[in-house]
Symmetry: C3
Subunit: 459 residues, 3 copies
């Protein structure tokens, strides 16, 4: 039985230290500054310092970074006794994943003469890959040990990089904001993992699988940072110029429209017309997911608003009606409802991307075609083939997520990671030193008494 | 009596869906990408992608965006039982207002051949207009239904756009940071609305109209984000180059100076020398409001500091002495004290702007005159006429706010929006599914017991 | 005894107003817009508005600004009854320090024809100097009055500027991210001050010197903002181009590596394998401190990761084993453990900087040498002399901190500032109007009852 023990005294340190040392060795062997970060290479050229890519990507990077650590981290703090773990494990697995992703993405599409060259764009891509892992974390939240999560991250990052390579490099699909690579992949991978890890007796922890007033307030910090910075997320790695500008704006309108749809559907589906924080915290973000592929295209502002509107409706309906069915019939215990926020809106986004590709014409894009659809501009493919590649990419992504999720799920099922027992899920106390909830009330009275004494002193 | 029912089951969905569908139709008919966001138009030119306005406005936009959703949203969470509504209704009406503002501001000063052209600058302006609505929200906080707020937003955005058109386009006034257009307008509009909606029996909800320890901590998140990003707010739409740079810096020093004045006045006016969180949360921001007009002018750092200093003093005195009088004598129930944070400092800012305009000389501005005072540079007006236009703009703004506020107040008084009864104001429970405050303590003991068991397993 | 009274009714207002008026007078006499913020000067040149330094420094400035006000402020909210003071005094002394720092740093390295010229770079430097004061604040947290803190800030900013002048201008050392000037100086200055202010009976307030569940969640907001924006901090004032880019990236990897080391060490050193929030909140940041000097150099990504790894280990060990010894043996009562987060990692960073300087070659830096080591590039010094200057700078910094800390400590020991008595340390109640912790439960029941009534009305 000791193999299932939740004590992390040795398991967690060994896992962290081994992983970090492997990372250090591989970075030492393989990773180099790229042209824009290397003192010698940069100064060989004749360009102005102001042309360094830092100035055109770094503000977006920082916004994405906030989404990863504050956005995802706090979004998951809604559980009443799982705030330390939500923010803290999010922090840990993100810090690991971004390093591992630098290597994996570098292997597949960043090698130059045997070396991986890195700069702000690779940092954004590493954060993006981390986002997929954090989405999967949402599906298994409260039911996994930190060691299990690190192992999941290691495999998921690897599969993410392979999938990304297939659909972006081999198929030539466009997916700047990651409707497919990040959201669809992360969600379905996580859903399959949580299915494999199905816990028939999870209702023994049911009383902790809900929010309290203050935990919902903390979660809104996560929601709002994701919402506000999503325009930066979707535009962070598109081509410079009109492309970044347009992508950010499309996302802005999609999200605004999605928010009104979310409030409408939340009140409409509640049993007494009251708004449900779960919907507001999550479904209002679906508009960002759903324009993750088409956002850089000439989707038009109104097109973005329609996509966001649909995403909000689908997402609330998913929380209300589909999630309970998935749990009862398919045994998918999806703690954060990632299927509703990332899964379905991600698939919607992929479809919108395919359709928008099919509708692209030189009349609409002019010379901007080369930035948005380079293969179309170069004559390599027509728009309908491009659209076909987009649709095929969705299928590849779903296949990779399902197949990978099953394998990784079974690896995570091994009783060696210190996963929590069914009776103590959603509970910080297992892995953290948890202080009390309230300051000492006795002391409080004392303080008041003493303050009275002090007042006497003062007078 | 059913017309006054607070159940939102149908009212809120219908309002949201109708508004969003109208927005979609109007965007489809009227709105287009502008030169910098359109693939074809941008690539017609010969400019470098790095010259796209995205790179020179978007970081400011994101800061403004954070102020709107986190800043205003969390600033209003100070009430003990109104956190969901403060953040949540702020989110809803902001998501609506920014879309509606795109149209209204477009009608009045963005039409090109019958179409509204949009990009990052119109996004900032839409967020600005939203700011005015959120200021008015502060005045009526806790006493209004979400449907009422959406209706208020619809009218207020429209009037905002008209007022902005009159003073900026017709009168040629300068008001980059919106001392007049945003703060004065938003505050006095909201104050008149709350006056019309006067509730004689509001003291029945008095026990909820105050903070608790944690709600004040959440509110400080809002305060600090507003304070930190105010330099970006005031400089977001000024001319490029020295103008943006100077405006940000003037605001920085004004706010710092204001903060010291606020702490001084708070301790000085308290009955026992203790600081009052209400002052710190609000008055420390008055320095940003008060340089909203003159910030882009050659106000000098010391000038900015003096303005901030005065704004902080005026604001604390307002909270301490004026607000109670306004409530008792004029029946203005101003929940957040927007008169002290936005009203008086906004008027102060307008006056400072007029005076600074009057003192402008070519000796001081050189060729920079054309950016700050184009009408003076072109010889269309002299500096004293410019100053006159600035002063006139304040009067126009006050007139629009008072007149508009009365009309809209009476529209909002109709008993059809599900406003809360006097006995249940400042209460989330009416419109939200509210979870309990504390996790199950019984469970807590259980968890501890189980953790002991687990410990045994581990050994 | 009245001299020790904690009542701030007059002390705080007088201090704030006198300081602010002095600032206003000195700004009026000495401070001017610099070339990039002055309307006339900027427009004399022929440069494009897009070349204004605003666009290449301001996004970094805003990130630093968030670290100062949200990062430091919330990091210190971990105490159960000191949230108002942590955030609020942080706010006050930062608002003062940034103004005072503008003058002090201007005196020592910003004078042009008798005037201090200011712009975004001086704003960043002022925020940096403020950071050192806030680190010292962390050492004395909970045991000092706001007047005492303002007096400390006034002296510390002055000494900071002198030290900075000696090591950067006279010795030609490099320290862009302030391992020495900010972290080492701020930490050891604060440690000496808290030593001089030693309170033998502080255990009477021991029950308040700990966290509660929600206060630890608030502190994580501070931690994460510091962690996310540290790349901007270290790169904010380096040379443009590859230097800023490289510095940000080195910091990113150092922090990620440090985080894994922190989690490993926290679980390893805990008595039952549980993670300790104190370590996560603090030690995970040590990687940012430790690359504050060498971050702009060609440290390589793997070098950064190794430095971060060591910093995390050293920091956790410091919290676990060294802090109790410092308190018992050396009577250093370090509330936030700044020795572990800023002190030792700062010294480590200085050493890493010296070593990396010694290893610099033209082969590695190419023409970039002039940006990173201008004195080496110009032939003024060799790399080993540069390294010697780096090492000497650490000694100068330690000397200034120790010497200055003693003097200022004794000044702060005067019984005139209203410091809290030993029995009421770590308590907001002394200096703030503190509301209750919980909403009225009685009212809660009422609200529920009334909601039932309303439900009847609705049907």
């Amino acid at each position: 039985m000791s193999s299932a023990a939740t004590n992390m005294r040795l398991k967690l340190p060994v896992t962290c230290l081994v992983l970090q040392i492997i990372l250090i060795i591989l970075f030492g062997t393989l990773v180099q500054y790229n042209h824009d970060t290397d003192a010698k290479l940069w100064h060989k050229g004749n360009q102005s310092d102001y042309e360094n890519d830092f100035y055109y990507r770094y503000p977006s990077f920082q916004d994405v970074h906030v989404m990863i650590f504050i956005g995802f981290g706090f979004l998951m703090t809604f559980l009443q006794r799982y705030g330390f773990s939500s923010v803290g494990f999010n922090f840990l697995i993100a810090a690991f994943s971004l390093q591992w992703a630098t290597l994996m993405q570098g292997f597949f599409h960043g090698m130059h003469e045997g070396k991986i060259h890195i700069g702000v764009e690779s940092m954004i891509n590493a954060d993006f890959c981390t986002g997929a892992v954090l989405i999967s974390f949402g599906a298994v939240l409260g039911k996994t040990s930190p060691v299990q999560l690190l192992v999941m991250a290691m495999f998921e990052v690897t599969l993410f990089a392979i999938n990304e390579y297939i659909i972006l490099s081999l198929l030539g699909a466009k997916d700047a904001g990651g409707s497919m690579t990040i959201h669809t992949f992360g969600a379905y991978f996580g859903l399959v993992v949580t299915r494999v890890l199905y816990r028939p007796n999870l209702d023994k922890s049911k009383h902790r699988n809900s929010s309290v007033y203050h935990s919902d307030m903390f979660a809104m910090i996560g929601t709002l940072y994701l919402w506000m910075f999503w325009p930066s997320f979707n535009s962070a790695v598109t081509a410079h110029g009109d492309d970044q500008h347009r992508t950010a704006m499309n996302t802005y309108y999609s999200l605004a429209s999605c928010t009104l749809a979310t409030y409408a559907m939340s009140a409409l589906t509640a049993h007494d017309g009251k708004l449900d924080m779960v919907h507001i915290q999550n479904a209002a973000l679906a508009g960002g997911v759903a324009v993750g592929t088409a956002g850089e295209m000439m989707l038009t502002p109104v097109g973005s608003m329609i996509v966001g509107f649909l995403a909000g409706i689908v997402s609330v309906l998913g929380f209300k009606y589909l999630s309970p069915i998935l749990e009862k019939k398919l045994k998918i215990q999806d703690t954060c409802g990632v299927h509703n926020l990332h899964g379905m809106p991600g698939v919607l986004g992929a479809i919108v991307g395919a359709v928008t590709s099919a509708l692209a014409t030189r009349e609409i894009y002019g010379n901007g075609m080369a930035d948005v659809f380079p293969d179309v501009a170069s004559g390599k493919v027509g728009t309908s083939l491009q659209a076909g590649h987009q649709a095929l990419s969705l299928l590849v992504t779903l296949g990779m997520a399902l197949f990978g999720g099953i394998i990784v799920g079974f690896i995570l099922k091994l009783p060696i990671y210190g996963a929590p027992p069914d009776t103590i899920c959603y509970e910080d106390n297992l892995y953290w030193e948890v202080p009390g909830d309230e300051e000492d009330h006795h002391d409080h009275q004392l303080a008041t008494v003493r303050a009275d004494e002090i007042e006497k002193l003062n007078n």
